[in-house]
Structure formats: C-alpha cells, structure tokens
C-alpha cells in the first residue's frame, strides 16, 4: 500500500473506532433536563457530566457497588497470588510429592465455564449463609483466580535456582521465612502482573455478581450497571452513559499505564 493510502485507511478506521466513544462522552455530559435522543451527534451546549456522574453514583447506587468491587478486586486477587505462589513454592522449592499432579489439578480449575459452578454455589451459599455477603464474593473470586496464578507462579519460581533455598536453609531460616522473605520478594514482578490481570477480571465480572448477590451493599459494579441499564431509559440515558464511563475509567487507566509492562512480559512469556 502506498505511503498515503496506508495512514489514510488506518486513520479513517481509527475514527470509526472512536465514534462510539465520542457519543459516550458527549451524551454522558448532556444535562438530563430537556435531553432528546434524536440528536446524539450534536456537540455539547451545557456541560453536565459531573451532575450525571453524581446521579449515577447516588441515585442508581453505583457508589456502593464501586466500594464493594474495589474491595473484591483488590482482596480476591491479592489472596489468590499468595495462595498460588505458596503452591508454586511447595512444588518447586519444597519438592511436594506428586507435585505435578497437584499442579495439573489446580490449573485444571480454569477449564470449566463459570456456568458449571454458579448454580451449586448459589444453593450452597444460601445454605451456609454466604449468599449475598462480601465474604462469599471474595472467596469465589479467590477461587477462580487461583488456577492462573498457580500457573504463572510455578513457572516463575521454577526459574529461581534451588541453591537459593539450600543456602537459606544453611543460614537457619524456616520454610515460612524463606517463602516470605526470599521467594516472594524475588518474584515481585510476576506477582504484580498476575494481580493486575486478575484484578481486571474481577472488576469486569458480571455472572458471579448476578447469581451470588442481591443487595446494593454486596452487588458488584457490573451487576449494578446492568440493573441500571434495564431500569433507566429515555431522558435518564445520560445517567446510564455516565455510569458506563465511570466503570471504564479505572480499567482504561490501568491498561494504558501497564501496557508496556505487559508487552514486554508477553514477549518473554508463553507466546
């Protein structure tokens, strides 16, 4: 393709890609009073984005959901990377018997679609009182994050020479201390990468929220947003769009700021 055609084509395609984002930004910023949905491309006259955000935050209950989801997507993956790293440590450094079997068993947990587990979790949670509780949500988010974190951490810890472990033993360190003070700090970059990927996954979760929670205090963000989507309409559209914008800001910022890190990581990784 010639020097002119290529940038022209890419530029046009890029504009097509940005058009829905333009519509999102502009219409999320229009005042609700007098909002008409037949002039969506028209630029802004009055800027009411913050009013609409406040409305989504308070009246539609997204504020509660933001708090819950922040807790879930920090705590769930944080516990999961530690649990996964502990398994990797047991297999690689402590030479767990049948280590490969246990690893395959744990990693095999990613094979099933979530549809396969939500119903029994719903029934079981209701029985033991975990249904519609933050603890219940955190537990399930840890569980679904563990297999991937075990995969990455086992591979990463496998790259640390066993002499490191032996030398620490000579110095009289306990296994716990070796794990906590030597292996974890040495694998900080892998821990962070897994944490970010899983945090994004938990932040974006819809299905587990729909099936295992109900109240405004426990319900995660995406579930709250779909709820808002189906109850709000007409002149309230700017609020719904402001909600869509609100939930996307953290993932967009996180992705763009860590993109370089991941391109490098993927380059060296399994692909």
């Amino acid at each position: 393709m010639s020097r002119v055609l290529r940038p022209l084509f890419l530029g046009l395609l890029g504009l097509v890609w940005l058009a829905p984002l333009y519509l999102l930004l502009v219409n999320a910023s229009k005042p609700m009073a007098g909002y008409v949905s037949d002039e969506v491309w028209k630029p802004l006259a009055d800027f009411a984005l913050f009013d609409n955000l406040a409305d989504a935050w308070e009246r539609a209950g997204l504020g509660d959901a933001v708090v819950s989801t922040t807790i879930y997507s920090v705590l769930g993956p944080a516990v999961a990377v530690l649990v996964g790293a502990a398994l990797g440590f047991a297999i690689v450094a402590l030479r767990l018997r049948h280590g490969f079997f246990w690893f395959v068993l744990v990693f095999g947990g990613t094979v099933f679609p979530l549809q396969m587990i939500v119903l029994p979790l719903f029934v079981g949670y209701a029985e033991v009182g975990l249904y519609d509780s933050r603890l219940g949500m955190i537990l399930v988010y840890v569980a679904i994050s563990v297999p991937f974190s075990a995969l990455v951490m086992r591979n990463f810890l496998g790259g640390i020479a066993h002499q490191v472990f032996e030398a620490a033993v000579v110095d009289g360190a306990s296994t716990w201390r070796i794990f906590w003070r030597i292996y974890l700090p040495m694998s900080a970059s892998a821990l962070v990468a897994v944490f970010i990927l899983q945090a994004t996954f938990v932040w974006n979760d819809l299905l587990l929220g729909l099936t295992l929670s109900q109240s405004d205090e426990v319900r995660p963000l995406m579930t709250a947003l779909t709820g808002m989507q189906s109850t709000y309409g007409g002149s309230q559209l700017p609020t719904v769009l402001a909600g869509g914008l609100l939930v996307s800001v953290p993932t967009v910022v996180l992705f763009l700021s860590t993109q370089r890190f991941f391109t490098r990581g993927l380059n060296l990784g399994q692909f």
Binding site: A90, V111, I117, L119, P120, A143, V240, F255
Partner: protein
C-alpha cells in the same frame, strides 16, 4: 551438588538420628509437612469452590429439581428435552454465529492493523484507538452500543445524515441482525488486543529473512503471504484458540445489551443456562445446558489443538 548443599541436612536434622532423615527422604523429602501446608490452601480453594460444584452440576443435570424439596432422578430426560426445544436450537445457532464471528472479524482486523502498523512511523499512535476500546469493560461496551444501536439512535442518525439506507433498521430487535450487531460491538472491543498480540509477534520475527525477501523484490501482499503469515502461524494458533474458547462462553455483552431477547432470539448457550437455572428455577435443565456447554468447549479446544499440532510441521 555444590559445596553449599551438603551441610544442609546435617544442620537441619541436628539432634535427630540419620534414620529420621532416611525415612523422611523415602516419603517425599525432609519438607513433606511444610510442602503439604503450603499447597493446601490452593488445593482447598479449587476443590471446594470449583471441583465440588462442578460435580454437583453434573449430577443435578440428571434430575428434576427446583431448589425446593429434593432432586428427583430423571435420567437423560433433561437432555432429550433440551435437544427438542426450539429455543435451544436458536441458542446453538447464535453461539455458532458468535464463534465464527469472533474468530474472523476481530482476529482478522487485528492482524490487518498489526501488519499495517508494525513497521510504520507513529504506528503506535495509529493503534491507540483500538487499544482504548479494548480497555473498556464488556458491560460498559454493552451500555455504549445499546445506546448507539437503539431504534433511531446514533447509528441510524449517522446513516440518515450521510444519506445511506438502513436508518430504520431495528438493530437489536430483529434476529439474526441483533446477534450480528452484538458481534460487531464485541469486535469493537476485541480487535485491539489481537492487534497488540500480532504486533508483538511481528516484532519478534528475525529481521534478516525479511530484508533478504525485500531485496528480492517482495512487498505488500506477497511479503505477507509468503513471509509474515507463515512466521506468525504459531501465534495465530494461540490467538484463534483463545477466541474460540472465549466465544463459546459469550455471556456478558449479550446480557448487557439484549438479555437474550427480544423473547429469546439472541440467547447464547451461556445465557440459556442462566435463564433456565436462575429465571425459570429449572435447576436440572440449566445444569444440562451447562454440562453440554462444557463438553462442547472441551471438544472444540482439543480438536482444534490436535489439528493445529498435526499440521504444524507442514509449514
């Protein structure tokens, strides 16, 4: 063994006899108890919250159960009813559309963008719009596109303004148009990550053979067809494989845009499971759909991988 490792057993087992060390080694090394303790949390989480529910769902799919009373064994009845249900046929058709759509449109567009931008000045800037939309959460993508695709909404107004036909289409109401439009919305989200993966792949291709081909006069399509495409083959396998598995489980975007409707005409298998189990409280029927979906996913993934691996040496 290095000099460092030899004194280790002597110091750690000080006070115990050599017999203790010997017995420990036979049963899996001196750290067998710590090893068990460190691996236990991961195994417990996965066993209790993933495997146990999985087995429960598999068993319940052979019963009739609505959450009250106790499950009643019905054999294969849920499965025979499922295959006889026209809604299930629609759901299968839609899922198939999702699979074909996802492994062609976003993967193909991603590849095109990667090939066009990877050796270009300001290539990263031309890729930015696509990466930006990739970072938008699936449910938020649903919110944006529901707005764009309303009757007489953003898309219709744009077509009208440009004097193009189709402005009065009912984008999200008529089947199969609604599923096609949602696949488009999904492509809008997914193209960026595929482009990114292909760019990484292209940048890791050794430069020398490409230079040689260029000196021989290869460029454009020929360069792509005979040099880049074969070298990208392993990566393409991974990208298509991931898209295949993910597309079979399509849920979020459809739930956020049409909830499988109107009626049930845009349901995917994942939505059918949700509706049967959580809307109709037919736990047995919902579980049957879930198990069917799992089997389809596994069979598709295994078949795909085997075919890819068996043809690999031909390139």
């Amino acid at each position: 063994m290095t000099g460092l490792s030899t004194p280790a057993p002597a110091r750690t087992t000080a006070g115990r006899g050599p017999g203790a060390t010997g017995r420990g080694r036979r049963r899996g090394g001196p750290y067998r108890w710590s090893a068990r303790a460190f691996s236990l949390p991961a195994i417990l989480f996965v066993a209790v919250l993933l495997y146990l529910p999985f087995l429960w769902t598999a068993a319940i799919s052979f019963t009739e159960y609505d959450g009250l009373g106790s499950p009643e064994w019905v054999g294969w009845a849920n499965y025979t009813e499922m295959f006889a249900d026209p809604n299930f046929t629609t759901s299968m058709r839609n899922t198939l559309m999702w699979v074909v759509g996802t492994i062609t449109v976003p993967v193909g567009l991603g590849l095109l963008i990667a090939v066009l931008t990877h050796d270009m000045r300001f290539g990263a800037w031309f890729r930015l719009p696509f990466l930006l939309t990739y970072a938008v959460s699936p449910v938020a993508v649903g919110v944006v596109w529901t707005f764009v695709l309303q009757n007489g909404g953003g898309l219709s107004q744009a077509l009208d303004g440009l004097g193009l036909p189709g402005a009065d289409s009912r984008w999200l109401l008529d089947e199969p148009l609604n599923t096609l439009m949602m696949i488009g919305a999904w492509a809008w989200q997914q193209t960026g990550v595929n482009a990114l993966l292909f760019v990484i792949g292209l940048q890791s291709i050794p430069k020398e053979p490409l230079e040689a081909a260029r000196l021989d006069g290869a460029s454009g399509w020929r360069m792509f067809r005979h040099m880049l495409w074969p070298m990208l083959r392993p990566l393409t396998t991974v990208v298509v494989g991931l898209a295949l598995v993910a597309s079979l489980k399509t849920f979020d975007i459809v739930m956020a845009m049409t909830e499988g409707g109107p009626g049930r005409n845009s349901e995917t298998l994942a939505l059918t499971m949700y509706r049967e189990a959580f809307v109709s409280s037919a736990y047995g029927a919902g579980s049957a759909v879930a198990l069917f979906l799992t089997v389809v996913t596994l069979v598709a993934a295994i078949t795909y991988l085997r075919r890819q691996l068996s043809t690999k040496h031909e390139i």
